[in-house]
């Protein structure tokens, strides 16, 4: 028989029920996709602001540095080592950095800040920091001036062309003190950092701290986050046995990682509950569709239709039902996601503050990763396979005479 024809007509026997069931699937998909899209989009952005714009996905440090973060636990810069790591597949480049705390004075105000010495050209390839200069200009390779983050500049009332004084403790107890001309004001997306960051060239910073040729870290800039699990072991192998250690972003940003995992988990629980509700909706419809056609099934089998064939028809009906819901849901959610992907929602009020606390731009970002869609479809499909067991068992075991008598 043309199973398709029979099944298609059968699902339209009760239009309203079919539409209600398909809509429940549709809304589950829309909700599921949108929610996951916002979640994953937010995680991406969190990781992006926290990691790509600052720590990087992998860092090499002196083994002792991570715990105390004192200027005394430095590692020597080594062009050979940097080159070796840069040759690993998927590594874009290796950024030498020297960073520590410093007191900044301007006029009669003083504030704690973090001075980050970078190779401007290399660092910019990862952080795109040059694009974030809002006033003045970016640093040259061995610039003796610095960039001041916008929040800090506002607080201290600093402008391009001003000269500021930095004070700190240098390498092995020397006193660090110097004046820096302000070359530019830079807007750091991470609001926390935007209030404390100073960026200078590496030579000037080394000079300031009295740590010529020394670094706090080498940042391994990788092409994509997904390559991390391939690259990290190779980096670890290279530094094995030395007193350097390779840290991944999840170790350096443990709090962020935990935050993401917890949020992700609660999101999945919510989705789980949603899908349980949808599942029982589908199951209810299938049970009704089967129960009310008992006699008809009996007639078909009496006339010579094999029970497995009848099961197949009911199975196809269920597929149609789900497909309707999934197709509509996919269409609408794809529209929603691509719209908001291109124009993310800016959050205001309390939510914005929460985002800022975690150092993230207050934007509701959507991810349009195809796997988000595929996952939802897969879930619906699996639920369907489970739900369809009921009618299949019913059909395969029904008593012909009882069915005909119904």
């Amino acid at each position: 028989m043309e199973i398709i024809k029979l099944a298609w007509r059968n699902i339209w026997r009760n239009k309203r029920r079919t539409l209600i069931t398909a809509s429940s699937i549709m809304f589950a998909i829309i909700f599921g996709v949108s929610m996951r899209s916002v979640q994953l989009g937010t995680y991406d952005r969190m990781i992006d602001s926290a990691v790509r714009q600052y720590s990087g996905f992998i860092q090499l440090q002196d083994t002792a540095y991570w715990k105390e973060k004192t200027i005394d636990d430095l590692m020597p810069d080594s062009l050979a080592l940097r080159k070796r790591i840069a040759q690993i597949d998927g590594v874009v480049n290796v950024l030498p950095r020297l960073e520590s705390f410093a007191l900044i004075s301007s006029g009669n105000k003083t504030k704690g800040a973090m001075l980050q010495g970078i190779n401007p050209q290399l660092d910019n390839q990862m952080t795109q920091i040059a694009n974030k200069v809002v006033k003045g200009k970016f640093l040259s390779q061995d610039d003796d001036g610095l960039l001041v983050s916008q929040g800090l500049a506002a607080y201290l009332n600093i402008n391009v062309g001003d000269t500021i004084v930095l004070l700190s403790q240098g390498y092995h107890g020397v006193t660090a003190a110097d004046v820096f001309p302000v070359r530019g004001i830079v807007k750091i997306p991470n609001p926390k950092l935007d209030r404390i960051l100073l960026i200078a060239s590496l030579p000037k910073t080394q000079d300031f701290y009295g740590a010529t040729g020394m670094l706090t870290s080498m940042v391994v800039n990788i092409k994509e986050r997904s390559l991390l699990h391939q690259i990290l072991p190779q980096v670890k192998k290279i530094v094995k046995g030395s007193n350097l250690t390779a840290l991944s972003w999840t170790e350096m940003n443990a709090e962020l990682k935990q935050q993401i995992d917890a949020d992700n988990g609660s999101g999945q629980i919510m989705l789980g509950i949603l899908y349980i509700v949808v599942f029982f909706g589908i199951l209810g419809t299938i049970i009704m569709m089967t129960a009310e056609r008992r006699k008809e099934f009996g007639v078909m089998v009496a006339l010579g239709m094999q029970k497995w064939y009848l099961s197949l028809i009911v199975f196809v009906e269920t597929i149609f039902l789900a497909f309707l819901g999934v197709a509509l849901g996919a269409l609408v959610s794809f529209g929603i996601v691509s719209y908001f992907y291109n124009s993310p929602i800016h959050i205001g009020g309390e939510m914005a503050d929460i985002y800022e606390q975690f150092g993230i731009e207050p934007i509701l970002a959507f991810s349009h990763d195809i796997s988000i869609f595929l996952n939802q479809f897969l879930i619906v499909f699996i639920l369907l396979l489970i739900a369809v067991i009921y009618p299949l068992v019913k059909i395969l075991t029904f008593n012909l005479i009882d069915a005909l008598r119904a």
Binding site: M1, E2, L6, R9, N10, R13, K295, E296, V299, M300, V301, A302, L303, G304, M305, Q306, K307, Y309, L400, I401, L404
Partner: protein, 230 residues
């Protein structure tokens, strides 16, 4: 040779309880090709049960039914289903057409299951609908047909697979007298012109009057079996 041979047939419902029902009690019957036989008797005498057993829809408590030499109770469920498809036509009291299929598609239904080609199906369905006088409603679904029209489609459907015989359990019970007359004359004509074998049960005296053979049942027993010379 008879096409249906029934020996010592028994059907007992609720056998292992205090109130077993002996719905078919030691029935011995045989049917020849081309018969137009009525099974009659009061309500509850076992007509439906007997027809269901002959049609391989139900299984007997004991005894044997052979159709064209095949003991149908030895067949597996799925073989029996195929056997019904190829050998037996069914007409039900409540028509039981498939509601989502048109009249013509209903007639083609079994031919589809048999794997007949589209051309053959088309041709035969058209012929049969014409034979039952319903060809003008070929593309109408059962819901839009009267009871009499539906039952005529059901007869066409029963004939589609070229079965050895047709079983009809009270085919006219839901029909008014005019539709009953139309249906009966169609069945008679098919019997006379195409030598189609009909075995039907009925309460209706007008239907009884048309039968060529009257099998009387009472409490599951055959109490009379007479041939009527027409």
């Amino acid at each position: 040779m008879s096409i249906i041979e029934i020996k010592n047939l028994e059907k007992i419902y609720n056998e292992n309880t205090d109130i077993p029902v002996h719905a078919v009690n030691n029935v011995n019957l045989s049917f020849e090709k081309g018969e137009f036989a009525a099974i009659v008797g009061p309500s509850g005498c076992g007509k439906t049960t007997l027809l269901n057993l002959i049609g391989g829809l139900d299984s007997p408590t004991s005894g044997m039914i052979s159709i064209d030499g095949v003991d149908i109770n030895t067949l597996s469920q799925s073989k029996l289903t195929n056997f019904r498809m190829d050998n037996i036509g069914f007409v039900f009291q409540a028509y039981n057409l498939i509601p989502v299929l048109t009249a013509k598609e209903n007639v083609e239904f079994i031919m589809h299951l048999q794997g007949a080609s589209k051309k053959d199906r088309d041709k035969r369905a058209e012929e049969l609908l014409q034979a039952v006088g319903i060809d003008d409603k070929a593309n109408v679904r059962p819901g839009k047909l009267s009871g009499g029209q539906q039952q005529r489609v059901a007869v066409a459907r029963a004939l589609a697979s070229k079965p050895k015989f047709i079983l009809a359990d009270e085919p006219t019970a839901n029909l008014d007298s005019k539709s009953t007359e139309t249906l009966l004359s169609i069945m008679e004509r098919l019997n006379k012109e195409e030598n189609i074998t009909f075995i039907f049960s009925t309460h209706d005296q007008r239907v009884v009057n048309k039968a060529h053979r009257l099998i009387k049942l009472e409490d599951g027993k055959v109490i009379g079996d007479e041939r009527v010379i027409k």
